[in-house]
């Protein structure tokens, strides 16, 4: 990174940190969702199972989008 401007590098790092934190929050929500769904399933309730799977899928898609964003940002900040 020696050949890049420090400001560009710093901005890239902040954006990557922000995206990482957001992925972390989404992951915590997904973990909670999985445990709550499992609890409902074991209690004999089937109704929330599909809705939970859809929401979990959307959260995963958001994580993938953020991951792609981080990759793109990284590539851009490395570009001379």
């Amino acid at each position: 990174m020696a050949n890049l401007e420090p400001t560009k590098q710093r901005r890239g790092l902040v954006a990557i940190d922000g995206a990482m934190a957001l992925i972390g929050v989404l992951l915590v929500v997904q973990i909670w969702l999985l445990s709550a769904t499992l609890e409902a399933f074991l209690a004999g309730h089937r109704s929330p199972v599909i809705a939970a799977a859809i929401v979990s899928g959307l959260l995963f898609a958001a994580c993938v989008a953020l991951n792609l964003f981080v990759d793109r940002l990284d590539w851009e900040s490395r570009r001379p």
């Binding site: 990557i16 990482m20 992925i23 399933f41 004999g44 599909i50 995963f60 991951n67 981080v70 900040s77």
Partner: protein, 171 residues
């Protein structure tokens, strides 16, 4: 070696150590982000597994088995039995002249054996003070997250038969 790495005009050392020391934090963060995304995929797969389990699994059929005879236990008396397999211990309580209820004896918290407290007229788990209603097995107090599975009983002459398992109450 040519099978493992694509041919490149760059010298070998540059290909194998393509990251400057000052860039290490970028690479680590990217790898960590990928790891988090992979964990997210794991959670999604877990949810899909629950969907498959709840919709594709065939319904469990329970056998009919004689568990007691009418009048064998006194009012507010208890009988322990196993149903549907010898590993599944259950507890039967005679709550009235002609009223019997039976539940799985495993507490839904950490599987300790529950017992009937005639004084408080409820099922109690001695491990963490979880209390269950004798009427429907619902949780009255304590850490158990779900009601006790109820054993379906039916009377056939002088026999009391167990014919299934039902989850009722506040679960």
């Amino acid at each position: 070696m040519s099978l493992l790495r694509s041919p490149s005009k760059d010298p070998l050392w540059k290909d194998e150590f393509s990251v400057f020391t000052s860039d290490e934090r970028y690479v680590t963060r990217r790898q960590f982000t990928k790891f988090l995304t992979l964990a997210s995929l794991g959670m999604f797969v877990g949810n899909l597994w629950i969907v498959l389990k709840s919709y594709l699994a065939k319904k469990t059929s329970y056998p009919t088995a004689e568990v007691a005879r009418v009048g064998e236990i006194q009012i507010r008396g208890v009988k322990l039995f196993s149903y549907p397999t010898p590993q599944d211990s259950c507890i039967m309580v005679r709550t009235g002249e002609d009223e019997y209820v039976a539940y799985s004896q495993k507490c839904t918290h950490l599987s300790c054996a529950v017992y009937y407290s005639a004084r408080s007229d409820r099922l109690e788990c001695p491990c963490h003070q979880g209390f269950f209603s004798i009427k429907d097995g619902s949780v009255l107090q304590g850490p158990p997250p779900r009601p006790l599975p109820q054993i379906v009983l039916k009377r056939e002459g002088e026999k009391l038969l167990a014919s299934g398992i039902r989850i009722t109450g506040n679960g």
